[in-house]
Amino acid sequence: MSSQDNYESAVDGASTRVAEFDSQRRGAVHSVQHALHVTPALVPLIVLISATIVFALLLGDRFLSPFALTLILQQVQIVGIVAVAQSLVILTAGIDLSVGAIMVLSSVVMGQFTFRYGLPPELSIILGLACGTLMGFINGFLVAVLKLPPFIVTLGMWQIVLATNFLYSANETIRSQDIEAEAPILQFFGSTFRIGADEAGRGGAVFTYGVIFMLILFVIMAYVLKHTAWGRHVYAVGDDPEAAALSGVNVRGTIISVYMLAGIICAFAGWALIGRIGSVSPTSGQFANIESITAVVIGGISLFGGRGSILGTLFGALIVGVFTLGLRLAGADAQWTYLLIGVLIIAAVAVDQWIRKVSA
């Protein structure tokens, strides 16, 4: 074999080290950028902690009491649960505008099946959860199989589900007192327990089962998304569906399952909503879609899909809750809350874009 034929010989002079991606930039800013890229929930966590500290300094015990802090949890529980569903959908590079409508319709189904048709409340709850799952399936089918854009699909479903809700319920409220007397299980998530209340039952930390449910849901979903094959598929599909398909991921199945799971989570939110407001009210939750998207975006999940941590969503929801109650206690006009939340949304997306440069 002559040296001319030995193509391998050209390799001799080349570096034998494994491919390296050492960055030339190693400044402090870059380390921060890198840390944020690895742990996307860090930004919202820092904002949450700083906001809490600022309000604690401004307001003292009124804000830093166990009562006020757990009140924030109670106030964000519904949006928090819905935001879990929203996070899943957004991780697949989709968006779900119908989450609030699905939540309300499911709660109406639970209530009306019990009170209009006399079904046992347990069965009504199961049917309500099934209703939410079905709505999610329709969303998922239209997105994954018919390849319609998620924004359009869920914009349509938002209207359809909301109209169905009003047509079916005739906008009749089922009163808290009737539910308490005949089907108390509907208010299950409203049950509370207290830690550290005084003898008159005032003050102290107040936890509702709805809050506990929300926290557990976040922990479970954080685990599932990070450590199960399904969870990694969700990220893969959101990042690049074609690459995911080529690596053997069932893209269609994953997307449908995400929307169905989102649907059932919204239905659970509907059940929790009954606990929160006591009654079944077809007019509630009108802004749950926007509020959940706000929590997700402030929580640092990328609207382009495939990146972000669901714990960030929890922090995002809590940030909104802290600002709302803190500014209210400080005596500010409610409009300041909206203004600041608007600033946070834009800042969060700006930070997201900046972090993306690390991977570029």
Partner: protein
């Protein structure tokens, strides 16, 4: 899904059917904020019944949600094109609607504002409404009388409608304060009072969810609140849930306005102490009668004495009547309630 499609199809047929029925006799339009709120459903029932009785063709329109201004403007334009004799409207946006209303009046239609006065009120030919200030005054006076001497040290939460301070919310709020014996300063807005008994104002959007949140916020400011004014009964039900979660539901007096059936039932159950009941069915049926009259001889309805609108009445509903304040019982209230 199938049921929904059927409903949509029926809805479309009903709309086309109504549109084709014009050109015969007198026709009138009813335009409400939404067609889902029981208050407007009752209004439509009242209008439909009166229209049938008088042989008038009634076309009903509604916005998709409260605040849907464009749909209402389109409805007015349709009514003008349709040659209707008159329009009954509960405006979503009371000042922006004025130009469309003027167009209708210029075209010779009688425009009556129902429930919600336009801004300015004389932009409509007449207004048939609840005296919302009086409604507030009744519950305020009742609350003060029921508390007796304790009213001097009351801790009051004001659960209002919206930060934009729509007139209906301001009138009820200021009426309550006047009735309770609070200096209301500027009667055209809430929040400018300096009476130390007021813990604060918070907004509810008029539903349970908002009522609970608003109550929680005010309780966080002052947990000793013992009087709660609410813009309507769903907000009151939400406030009650917030109080119940901290075990204070029995030592707080809640008053409200509206008189919907679930709300009146809540008085019987001790959730609300008293409510001021209004009568949407009467507003609409009187409105249709006025249009019939106008079509017959051109008579424009006149406002009630001392007011700039026609007062369709308000009654205090409670089972604990207070001295010197006229009220009806819960049983009577249930006979007259809507929704």
């Amino acid at each position: 899904m199938k049921k929904l499609l059927t409903c949509t199809a029926l809805g479309l047929m009903a709309t086309t059917g109504a549109a084709m029925a014009d050109g015969h006799g007198v026709s009138a339009c009813l335009i409400t904020k939404t067609d889902t709120n029981p208050f407007f459903v009752m209004m439509r029932e009242g209008a439909t019944a009166a229209a049938e009785e008088l042989g008038i063709t009634l076309n009903s329109y509604a916005g998709q949600i409260d605040g849907d201004h464009e749909t209402q403007v389109a409805a007015i334009e349709t009514c003008i094109a349709d040659g209707a004799a008159g329009i009954l409207i509960t405006a979503s946006d009371t000042s922006s609607i004025v130009s469309a209303v003027q167009q209708a009046r210029d075209a010779g239609l009688l425009v009556i504002a129902l429930d919600t006065p336009l801004e300015p009120i004389d932009a409509a030919d007449a207004t048939f409404a609840t005296d919302n200030f009086e409604a507030g005054r009744l519950i305020g006076a009742w609350a003060a009388a029921t508390m007796g001497d304790a009213a001097a040290d009351a801790r009051i939460a004001m659960l209002d409608l919206a930060v934009s301070q729509p007139s209906v919310g301001v009138l009820r709020d200021q009426g309550f304060m006047e009735g309770f014996g609070i200096d209301i300063a500027d009667p055209s807005r809430w929040g400018d009072e300096d009476d130390p008994r007021i813990v604060g104002h918070s907004v509810t959007a008029g539903n349970e969810e908002g009522g609970r949140r608003a109550m929680e916020e005010l309780l966080a400011i002052d947990p000793t609140i013992n009087v709660v004014y609410t813009i309507n009964e769903p907000a009151a039900a939400g406030a009650y849930e917030a109080l119940r979660s901290i075990g204070r539901e029995n030592d707080v007096l809640i008053v409200s306005v509206d008189g919907g059936c679930p709300g009146v039932q809540n008085i019987a159950d001790g959730v609300i102490g008293a409510t001021a009941q209004q009568y949407p069915l009467l507003m609409a049926s009187l409105g249709i009668e006025a249009i019939a009259q106008f079509a017959a001889d051109g008579t424009v309805p006149q406002p009630s004495e001392g007011l700039d609108f026609f007062n369709t009445g308000v009654a205090l509903v409670t089972d604990q009547p207070a001295d010197g304040i006229e009220s009806i019982s819960v049983a009577e209230g249930l006979d007259l309630c809507w929704g």
